[in-house]
């Protein structure tokens, strides 16, 4: 057992956990942040994607101890006190989710993708960049649509802010 401390969604936390505890289980079982999901055990499905120091990572592939001292952002913290982040809103408006299980990881990956590509995203790029996230319900059609819509909106908002 070790004590692991980090900042999660802007809040400093510290918990005792088994050395083998993965970051995803630290979040789920020790902090009750159950929005981050586990859908596989080979780092393929992406249901566990969170941000670690600003980078999208699969939290099933990182020990909690490796994340000690870092800043973690999970799906619960994404809207930053608002109602819905623009990507969350776009998923809702475009019916980009059904059972909701892959959704937190999808949304986190989508935000990361939009941050990297901006409003210039096209369908092919979105589909290629979703390689690490598996959805069994939607056939990805409306997820792709939602990400493109969110990229447009965030790009427009970004330009407005710059002007």
């Amino acid at each position: 057992m070790s004590r692991v401390a980090m900042t999660v969604n802007g809040r400093k936390v510290s918990r005792e956990c088994e050395d083998r505890t993965l970051l995803v289980h630290f979040l789920r079982d020790h902090l009750s942040l159950t929005g981050t999901h586990v859908g596989c055990d080979t780092s393929q499905c992406g249901a566990c994607v969170v941000y670690m120091d600003g980078r999208a990572v699969k939290s099933c592939t990182i020990l909690a101890a490796q994340a000690a001292g870092s800043e973690i952002l999970t799906i619960e913290g994404l809207a930053a006190g608002g109602d819905l982040h623009p990507v969350q809103a776009a998923f809702k408006a475009n019916h980009g989710l059904q059972c909701g299980f892959c959704t937190p990881g999808m949304v986190m990956s989508a935000v990361d993708m939009i941050n990297r590509y901006g409003a210039d995203l096209d369908e092919k790029t979105v589909r290629e960049n979703l390689e690490g996230n598996i959805c069994r319900c939607t056939g990805y059609h409306n997820i792709v649509k939602a990400i493109l819509a969110a990229a447009q909106e965030m790009g427009a908002a970004g330009r407005q802010a710059a002007e």
Partner: protein
């Protein structure tokens, strides 16, 4: 329809919690004192258990208890059962081998449970599970569908000689033989329907909580039908009487059929909770899911289709072997019989059909209903055969289908089904227009100039949804009725709760069921809550599968709404001193037609509960329930067209367009219906192009037990889809709806394989059409 009524593209009420990480899935549940379970599982496909030594495991850190199948047997926990009785053609009942939740004598597939370990953490439970010493006498195994019936093969169950579960038939064999003898042309094929793993993204989980003070059990579980789970665990598995067992299926992350069944793990967690005195939670990992979730499909068939000189089908003969795995799962018996052979008429007027189906045991995990359940197998067989026949006869695939379409309704097929309504030509026409069928030769020529082989294929499917009526399915062997229940509670402030026995695990019931209420009473959907998935809240229900929630579940809601409306109008008429027949309900108010008199909805509701001024003799309150038992199946149908480009150098197939034209009858929320089609298409395309479960033939080891080995469809494997709807309302339910959950998975595989075989000029291609197979088939055709 109003902005939130029937037909409106309403964004989903349930989305916010899923999008913000506030969903409540079974593995998210935590209760005081909760411990974690891990199962010891057989590493062998077939073995006798000589002994189990748990002593070392019991001494491991954090271990609360280690329990075996022998102790479970001693406590009187029953065998798992199949709930649908099929009789062989010789009149004998199907041969159901004993399935213990935890094996104590023989294991029959890799993953069969032999012990459960309960410990303080998941890690400690798994460590201890590895320390349980099981001495196995390894036996030879058989995993192949056809080989299982051959002489000298390993035998799985003493109850089933030659591994044969049943040998069943339907239709008129002599009439079909006569048609084949008289035919101007016969198309013959061998069709393999590949075995699939359903793979909902949420792995199965169960939390069993035993309350010693009340002698009461609570089970949180990943179920599509919590009431059936309670019924089965109570009536057959002797876990607890129904009044002492509460089953809750909270948010469930997809099912696709695989979460219909009652598995050993939830029974074991409940039983272990009583045995150990602590709440016990088990969550499977993905490899465990591949090993233990019921698989789908796995049919091997031969087909002969007879045509007269005018290209009309005059007879169809089908012989199918269906692999059931090591044990008969809950619905398994019905899948290759009443959900498969009864759909072999497709969209065509076929005077004579005969199907023979043999179900077999193999040393693999159980096979049961997976999205479509029998109907994808029937459609694949029929639509591959139609396309092949068109090629052999030198007709366009559309023309051959048109010649044979059923055009008048109702239509009685020779295999039980009575189709109530449809317009197959309309969907065919819409799909061909959307796909620009006529422009294909030019696109093919253009692709050829780039060195690519372009092909086009179609599929015209029919399915039967909302299995019913109960008396009919009972006469065919079903162990349950297939009605649905609903209760509508109008609160004193006018808000409304709708309780349904249907279960939503992605289908969006919280929105679409609320749309029915908004449409009826003109109240906002935010004032309507849908309650489901808890046996303490909803008295009884049959759950969600077979695209039944709309046609059956919503019809029950409509029946209950009828009763609420009638009482509400009586109250309003009394309050306004008007005649009941003059009351209309609009925009959240009850009005006297042709006057300016009205009572707001909430005021009528309040009057029902204050009961100060009700019509003489009327009971206070406003709450009505209904059970709805449909009079027939519903029959969604449609036409799918797929266009592909194959790279002959690599064998890689690219889907360049996929068109779906479906008739689901009336539609409550087009956005949600389109989403269901998209998801179904992805699963069907997955089956045709990517997915396949493989067991090692010698050892019975599962070779595709992770996402590294089992090719799930990813975003870059799929195109965006072109989806449209044609509408012939279902005449047999109050909303005129047919069901849309499975169509995509049913209609898409043959369209895709027809397109690839068209592209490469070789019809000899089985699913999944991996690049390796396509490359080899293309080369064989070229040489």
């Amino acid at each position: 329809m109003g902005v939130e009524g029937i037909g409106a593209r309403v964004a989903r009420k349930e989305d916010k919690r899923f999008l913000t990480g506030k969903g409540h899935y079974t593995d998210d549940m935590a209760v005081p004192g909760m411990r974690y379970a891990a199962f010891v599982r057989s590493p062998h496909a077939h073995a006798r258990i000589r002994s189990i030594d748990v002593s070392q495991a019991e001494d491991m850190p954090g271990v609360v208890g280690v329990l075996t199948g022998r102790e479970m047997l001693d406590d009187g926990i029953g065998n798992l059962i199949c709930g649908w009785m099929i009789h062989s053609k010789d009149g004998s009942p199907m041969k159901m081998g004993a399935w213990r939740p935890i094996a104590h004598e023989t294991v029959r597939y890799v993953g069969d449970a032999v012990a459960i370990v309960v410990a303080d953490s998941v890690g400690e439970a798994r460590d201890a599970a590895e320390a349980v010493a099981v001495d196995y006498e390894v036996l030879p195994a058989v995993t192949d569908t056809v080989a299982a019936l051959e002489d000298g093969q390993p035998q799985l169950h003493p109850e089933a000689p030659n591994n044969l579960i049943y040998d069943w038939q339907i239709g008129d064999g002599a009439a079909v033989d006569a048609a084949l003898a008289a035919a101007a042309h016969v198309t013959e094929m061998r069709i393999v329907n590949n075995r699939l793993a359903p793979n909902p993204m949420e792995p199965r989980a169960a939390l069993g909580i035993y309350d010693a003070g009340e002698d009461h059990y609570t089970c949180y579980t990943t179920s599509q039908n919590p009431h059936v789970a309670r019924l089965v665990m109570s009536a057959f598995y002797n876990v607890a009487p129904e009044n002492k067992l509460r089953v809750i299926a909270p948010d469930v992350g997809g099912g696709f059929g695989s979460k219909i069944y009652i598995y050993p793990e939830e029974i074991s967690c409940l039983w272990a909770s009583k045995r150990t005195g602590v709440p016990v939670k088990w969550t499977c990992d993905r490899t465990e899911a591949f090993l233990t979730d019921a698989h789908g499909r796995d049919h091997v068939s031969t087909v002969k289709m007879a045509f007269d000189a005018d290209h009309r089908i005059i007879g169809l003969k089908v012989d199918t072997i269906a692999n059931f795995g090591a044990y008969m799962s809950l619905f398994s018996a019905a899948v290759p019989t009443y959900l498969y052979a009864t759909l072999l008429s497709g969209q065509y007027d076929i005077p004579a059909i005969h199907a023979n189906v043999r179900a077999v045991y193999t040393n693999t995990v159980a096979v049961d209903a997976y999205r479509g359940a029998g109907r994808p197998e029937a459609t694949y067989l029929l639509e591959r055969t139609m396309e092949t026949a068109a090629r052999e006869l030198g007709l366009s695939p559309a023309e051959l289908r048109r010649i044979n379409f059923i055009r008048t309704f109702p239509h009685q097929t020779p295999v039980i089904m009575n189709y109530d309504a449809g317009d197959y030509e309309a969907s065919l026409k819409a799909a061909m227009a959307e796909a620009d069928w006529d422009g294909f030769p030019a696109r093919k020529a253009e692709a050829a100039s780039r060195g690519k082989k372009r092909g086009i294929g179609m599929s015209c499917y029919i399915e039967a949804c909302g299995i019913a009526p109960s008396a009919a399915v009972g006469s065919l062997g079903a162990g349950v009725g297939l009605w649905e229940s609903a209760e509508v509670r109008v609160n004193a402030v006018g808000t409304i709760e709708v309780l349904t026995g249907s279960h939503s695990h992605g289908q969006g019931h919280e929105t679409t069921f609320a749309q029915l209420v908004a449409d009826r009473f003109g109240v906002p959907i935010d004032s309507v809550s849908i309650v489901h998935g808890d046996t303490d809240k909803v008295q009884m229900g049959m759950g969600t599968y077979g695209s039944r929630s709309g046609a059956v579940g919503m019809s029950a809601v409509v029946k209950a709404l009828d009763k609420v409306e009638a009482k509400a109008k009586k109250i309003a008429a009394h309050l306004m001193e008007a005649d009941e027949s003059d009351i209309v309900i609009e925009n959240g108010a009850l009005k006297v037609a042709g006057t300016d008199k009205s009572v707001p909805w909430f005021q009528m509701a309040l009057a029902a509960y204050t009961a100060h001024n009700l019509p003489a003799g009327m009971e206070p309150g406003l709450k009505e329930g209904a059970f709805y038992d449909p009079s027939n199946f519903t029959f969604p149908a449609g036409c799918y067209i797929c266009e592909v480009e194959v790279d002959p150098e690599t064998g890689k197939t690219e889907i360049v367009q996929f068109v779906a034209a479906d008739d689901f009858g009336n539609i409550i929320n087009p956005m949600i219906v389109e989403g269901q089609v998209h998801g179904g298409l992805a699963q069907g395309i997955g089956q045709a192009l990517l997915e396949g479960v493989h067991y090692d033939r010698e050892t019975g080891q599962l070779l595709t037990a992770s996402y590294m080995d089992y090719a799930m469809p990813r975003a870059d494997d799929l195109p965006s889809f072109k989806v449209s709807h044609q509408v012939t309302p279902c005449p047999n339910n109050p909303l005129g709806i047919k069901g849309c959950g499975e169509a995509g998975a049913i209609g898409s595989p043959p369209a895709l394989i027809n397109a690839i075989t068209d592209a490469i000029g070789n019809n000899d291609l089985d699913m999944p059409a991996t690049p390796q197979k396509v490359w080899a088939a293309a080369r064989a055709a070229a040489n």
